[in-house]
Symmetry: C2
Subunit: 306 residues, 2 copies
């Protein structure tokens, strides 16, 4: 059991499906990490405070107002309180643009970081901009492209400390829908993986992206009449979807310095796919970048208020 009498502030990444918290002590020490499934998608605006307190109230020192800084979907219109988007080109929004949220509990003082939007083509991010802020806090001179795999993967051009432009793809959500809720689910049970099928599917999708819907049905037909196994089918589905994304994102990654933010299986799949295209991407832990971005906001806030 940690000693939370020294809690200085609390960092939150509040997404659609999860709430993640870091309990922060002096000197950037992480006293504890916690997580709940009280995501924005399951909460009405007046339920956020309760969900937060349920997760972290035992970490609040007595006789002190503890700052809480959050990024992500908590700042969307359907979230806790809207934190208006900043428009690219821009530096990732920091403490000076946070939205202060009133709480019933006077032990906490909640701040929400805004997301970033792009007007043309229309695009939005909430949460990724804080990962980018964390990345830039460590590498302020970075000039290149950040790839952020996820439910809605994003590619962002970074130069001179600014997000210049970005593009989001529904790749992750399409994989989830197709593998779990479409007719393809029958042929994808289990956890196996076929790397050769993944690589081949990337090539197929990049050379004939228009064939996607036919290639998808071929997975169903293959399992019915050609003994296509589940591991191969799942890897091929992933490769087809990542492949058409790579084909469309080519202007982003071709000849660029690339960092992939993420350390999970999905991020590793992007790493291998990019490497197969002749890129030399770096892998950066997304979690650490989120905390680094929130910490940069804390440093500013703390400097401004003490």
């Amino acid at each position: 059991m940690s000693d939370f009498s020294t809690t200085e502030w609390i960092a939150l990444d509040w997404g659609t499906s999860h709430l993640r918290a870091w309990i922060m002590g002096a000197g950037a020490q992480v006293l504890d990490r916690r997580e709940s499934d009280a995501g924005m998608g399951s909460l009405a605006p007046d339920q956020f405070e309760g969900a937060l307190l349920e997760l972290i109230s035992d970490c609040l020192p007595a006789g002190q107002v503890t700052p809480v800084i959050t990024c992500g979907m908590a700042g969307s219109r359907q979230g806790w309180a809207e934190a208006a988007y900043r428009a690219v080109p821009c530096t990732p929004p920091g403490a000076e643009l946070m939205t202060r949220v009133k709480t019933a509990d006077s032990r906490i003082q909640v701040h929400i970081l805004p997301g970033v939007k792009q007007l043309q083509p229309a695009d939005v991010m909430r949460g990724e901009e804080t990962q980018i802020a964390g990345f830039l806090a460590r590498e302020p001179k970075f000039d290149g492209v950040l790839c952020l795999p996820g439910t809605h993967s994003k590619w962002a051009r970074i130069s001179a400390g600014e997000i210049v432009s970005f593009q989001s793809y529904m790749t992750g959500e399409m994989f989830a829908l197709l593998s779990r809720q479409s007719v393809l689910r029958h042929g994808m049970a289990g956890e196996g993986w076929n790397e050769a099928a993944f690589t081949a599917a990337i090539g197929d999708a990049m050379s004939r992206p228009q064939a996607l819907a036919a290639q998808l049905f071929a997975l169903r037909a293959g399992s019915l009449i050609a003994d296509l196994d589940a591991a191969t089918a799942r890897a091929r589905l992933s490769g087809l979807l990542i492949g058409i994304e790579l084909a469309a994102a080519r202007p982003y990654w071709l000849g660029q310095d690339i960092a992939v933010l993420g350390a999970d299986d999905l991020a590793e799949a992007y790493m291998r796919a990019l490497t197969a295209q002749g890129c030399l991407p770096r892998s950066v832990a997304a979690d650490e970048m989120t905390l680094a971005g929130l910490s940069a906001a804390w440093t500013t806030l703390n400097g401004d208020t003490t």
Copy 2:
């Protein structure tokens, strides 16, 4: 209330989500049409007979064994009884290839028409082959392409009375998943339609099919920050998905005599999309073709057994 003492046979189209029946009298007269939601997907093999009797038992004349002919998913491995696929190139399978199903009720004699498969690239159909049989019964000299829109739309090359090759697309199922179960559902409520957005999206998808996943997320971003209305978003989603299908199916439709089987909104959308590409497609009622295909099987069966 019809007089079912003259019922000769019963035609069924038994799909994944619906069961449709035509009660047939002498001289190809349709005595009644009925439908239930007892689709293959919701039935175990031993529940098919009961679901059928519930729908049509009052139409069975006393003192007679009434033939029942069905096409569709009832003949799949998970259906009532497996009716093995015939492989292309082939004529659409008719009465000589039907699978006889034993029933507990001796008033009916059930026959299932097989589906059609293609080995390379792997593909399957169940139900559409009977529509094709019906189409060819009316136009035995047809040489061209049939487009069959639906959950898994199909394009079939027809020549000399045979299905030469075909290709299926998950277009319809992707539209259903994305419009109802993805993040895009928030921006697609209601029933409106924007034809100009549909047409523009087809062009966008055909010229840059690889951008699909980005164009999809742009619908979400557009509704968040650019006042994209639901009618435009839904029409654009449909256009993007039909557009990449048309791009991939170009070798099927380019310069061909085309008939679109279907009379619903979806089939009409394909008609307009093909017309915009310079095609002169004909529209043929899919329901009539299904019944015509089942009737062709009945004629053969009846000729063979009387």
